[in-house]
């Protein structure tokens, strides 16, 4: 949490004030050793399962570039800033660029690239001895951080190659370059007295990755050998201008790792979610009924079928993530039962250790719930086989998509899908490693990512206490980051204490706020009340419209405009946190908070944060988008007209393809029937009365 807003700070400058450091006047050619783990890992350490992911990622460091160069600016400063921003978006702490000299290569057989983009990823905080997760986590920072460097190396080099330029990713253990020399030359690190590299502003260890390329980049100068790595300047220390304050380490140290950085323990817990769930009325649904699958099968028409496999990867950045997202699926794990294990009997300790592990690997929120049978899909979509519920527990995690990029975007322009894919990719990586770890401990476990999932995430998110149902409908909302997240789940038989659902007053808030509905480009979010849908109380969005728009729109890649527009999509500042607390604890303030959100212009695009190139992949080449770019800000005052014309459809199980239907069979969407069902949908109040006894949760 920052004291000062960073909304005037260009994204390519990164979260730390690199620009405030003294630089050497000329390039220097020294190197240094990278920081190592401070202590040995235990036999149960997570580092034991990371190598298979590093090995997978290593396959995608190099490839041929696209056959034509993208129409990007020739100015090397613009290019360097753009590439740095891409690295910061993937959570690099520091990024610099330099030229590669011939003797930087450690092998004769090398691609002879001339430029390097060097990124630093900081170690994560480890638990203290005796704290939850210590035996799994301590001594694993090198493995964890090299994995992250490998991820960045694959994605960034893939991005540059998709733009038609040669590029190769490098990280420790898989490189032909002296990474230390490049880190020094690009000004992101400096050799210390003992020969170990030191990085400015970073008090923990770190690892380094590099993209080598012939894409011309403006170079940075090395850090001055006699300059401070953390200037004695109150503005820098306090983070004036929006950089991370020096106090962040103390703040983090004040909380156990397993609680995460957001104080979810301060949010009220309830026995049942704030929205009605009638478990005995929930019909399990086949994966074939998911609307992205329906699009792939042709149920939504030819355009949606054609675009389904392209829409999320239309930008070269998202395309750079595709190899990892797709190829992590075979590592996701097993459904098979394992023989009973005698160890790990303390369910509370197990849950806390799992949470600590999730946070260590980079999740923003971790919760645990029962993997109830109704959370599993009923049938597979490829061959139609039935799916039986197989694990007892679900570990549910949210990955923040990041405020800054949301701030710069319309929500449905050319960065939109990359925002989603980054979070999906990171989530799959974290959940995959955690599931592998559980299996190594002797417990069956399987990750459920966006690329392959056999559980429906939303009920798990709800039951694990990470979010409440929001007006957006099929996107749930967390009090600290709003709807701005992607989820990942892994199911397991590792026994854990489960969390309870949360109540932070959202049902009352969303009852008063119509902003996501007003700003939806396809009028798919309801202006009306909640309805009952397959046993759930929900503001039901029109998923046919939403899916069609995300898949077939031509002026951007996918859409997350509802997330961008939500008043709970706030900057991570002290002031925004105070506003969040008032939204939670002061029902009387909510109407004013909603009104003020519009009056302050929240939801307009912030040009300072527009760091990406508008590009579209067409037949394997990145080109200027043919149809242009969605340019949207606020559409004030049109709620009533939109509400009057809105006719939504819903598609409960009886309007979905039957279990056993495969993706090779087309089952056209029956929209008229769906529209009729929406008008006939049961109200939650009527459902409560019908089932008896389930009292409506009063606004919290």
């Amino acid at each position: 949490m920052r004291l000062y807003s960073n909304r005037e700070r260009p994204f390519h400058l990164g979260p730390l004030a690199l620009e405030r450091l003294r630089r050497a006047s000329t390039p220097i050619a020294t190197t240094g050793e990278l920081p190592q783990d401070d202590h040995l890992a235990s036999v149960e350490a997570i580092s034991q399962v990371i190598p298979e992911y590093i090995s997978l990622f290593s396959r995608y460091l190099a490839a041929s570039p696209a056959v034509a160069e993208a129409p990007v600016p020739a100015d090397p400063t613009v290019r360097a800033n753009n590439l740095k921003a891409h690295a910061y978006f993937l959570d690099a702490a520091l990024v610099g660029c330099c030229q590669i000299q011939p003797d930087d290569w450690t092998t004769v057989d090398n691609p002879a690239h001339r430029y390097a983009c060097v990124f630093v990823v900081e170690f994560a905080r480890e638990p203290q001895p005796g704290d939850p997760g210590d035996r799994w986590i301590r001594g694993c920072n090198v493995a964890r951080t090299d994995l992250r460097c490998a991820e960045l190396a694959v994605v960034l080099s893939g991005y540059v190659r998709a733009m038609g330029f040669e590029a190769q990713g490098h990280f420790c253990g898989n490189t032909q370059l002296d990474l230390g020399r490049l880190a020094v030359r690009s000004g992101v690190a400096r050799p210390g007295e003992a020969g170990q590299l030191e990085a400015p502003y970073l008090r923990r260890g770190f690892r380094i990755g590099v993209i080598s390329t012939n894409y011309e980049l403006q170079t940075d100068l090395p850090l001055a050998q006699d300059g401070s790595l953390e200037p004695d300047d109150p503005d820098v220390e306090q983070g004036v201008g929006g950089t991370l304050p020096a106090s962040r380490y103390e703040v983090e140290e004040s909380r156990p790792v397993h609680l995460g950085r957001y104080p979810m323990e301060t949010i009220k817990r309830v026995d049942e979610p704030t929205t009605l769930i009638i478990r005995e009325e929930i019909q399990r649904v086949p994966k074939r009924g998911d609307f992205f699958t329906r699009a792939a099968a042709g149920d939504l028409g030819e355009a949606a079928k054609r675009e389904r496999f392209r829409f999320a990867m239309k930008h070269p950045y998202a395309l750079g993530m595709q190899p990892l997202i797709q190829n992590m699926v075979p590592l996701q794990g097993t459904r098979d039962k394992f023989p009973p294990v005698a160890a790990h009997q303390d369910e509370r300790a197990n849950a806390e250790a799992i949470k600590a592990l999730g946070y260590f690997l980079g999740a923003d929120f971790v919760g645990v719930c029962r993997a109830e049978p109704w959370m599993y899909y009923s049938h597979d979509h490829l061959d139609g086989h039935s799916i039986d519920a197989y694990h007892d527990y679900a570990v549910v995690m949210l990955i923040d998509q990041g405020f800054e990029t949301m701030d710069g975007a319309s929500g449905d322009d050319w960065i939109s899908a990359s925002q989603s894919m980054r979070a999906y990719m990171r989530g799959a990586e974290i959940a995959g490693v955690m599931a592998a770890h559980c299996r190594r401990l002797g417990y069956s476990a399987r990750a459920h990512s966006n690329a392959h999932s056999e559980v429906i995430h939303n009920p798990a998110i709800l039951m694990a206490g990470l979010a409440e149902v929001s007006r957006i409908g099929d996107t749930l909302l967390n009090p600290f980051i709003g709807p701005r997240s992607k989820s990942v789940v892994f199911t397991t038989d590792f026994p854990m204490e489960i969390d309870k659902p949360i109540d932070f007053g959202l049902q009352d808030f969303c009852s008063q706020c119509l902003k996501c509905a007003r700003e939806c480009p396809c009028n798919a979010i309801t202006f009306g009340p909640k309805v009952m849908f397959n046993g759930y109380e929900i503001w039901k969005a029109d998923v046919e419209k939403c899916t069609k728009y995300r898949v077939t729109q031509t002026k951007g890649s996918a859409c997350g405009r509802c997330m961008k527009m939500c008043p709970w999509n706030r900057e991570d500042t002290v002031q925004a946190r105070e506003l969040m607390l008032r939204s939670v604890h002061s029902p009387a303030s909510r109407a004013a908070i909603i009104r003020a959100d519009d009056e302050e212009g929240n939801g307009t695009r912030n040009p300072v944060k527009r760091w990406w190139f508008d590009l579209e992949m067409v037949e394997g080449v990145a080109v200027k988008p043919k149809a242009g770019t969605n340019e949207r800000d606020l559409n004030l005052g049109r709620e009533q007209k939109l509400a009057a014309m809105q006719k939504l459809a819903l598609f409960p199980p009886q309007l979905q393809p039957k279990g056993g239907t495969t993706v090779s069979q087309t089952v056209p969407v029956d929209r008229l029937a769906g529209m009729k069902l929406y008008t006939e949908a049961e109200s939650p109040a009527a459902a409560r009365e019908r089932v008896g006894g389930a009292a409506e949760v009063k606004p919290g």
Binding site: G301, P521, C522, N523, A524, K545, K548, Y549, T552, Q553, T554, K555, A627, N630, R638, K641, L642, A644, M645, Q646, K647, R671, L672, M675
Partner: protein, 84 residues
């Protein structure tokens, strides 16, 4: 082929065409002059469904995003319908 909502926008006329041609929002609703109605390609089911959401729809209502401009439509006359 360019759809007529793009041409209307290019002429700086007030047509939101919010969903950009996806046939989802009915904010490119237009009235077709009667003598041109028969000469347009027929209405597909998607357009027909979305026109259910149009404000003040009439028998000659169409969505501009679904009318692709061709030489045969040179001289086409449309009126902008009320939209949010």
């Amino acid at each position: 082929m360019i759809s007529t909502d793009v041409l209307i926008k290019a002429a700086d006329l007030p047509i939101p065409a919010e969903c950009g041609g996806c046939c989802l929002c009915a904010t490119c609703h237009v009235y077709v002059e009667p003598d041109w109605l028969e000469r347009l390609p027929g209405i597909e089911q998607d357009e027909s469904n979305t026109l259910l959401e149009a404000i003040a729809a009439r028998d000659n209502s169409r969505l501009a995003c679904q009318i692709r401009m061709t030489v045969a439509l040179d001289g086409l006359r449309l009126r902008l319908a009320p939209v949010p």
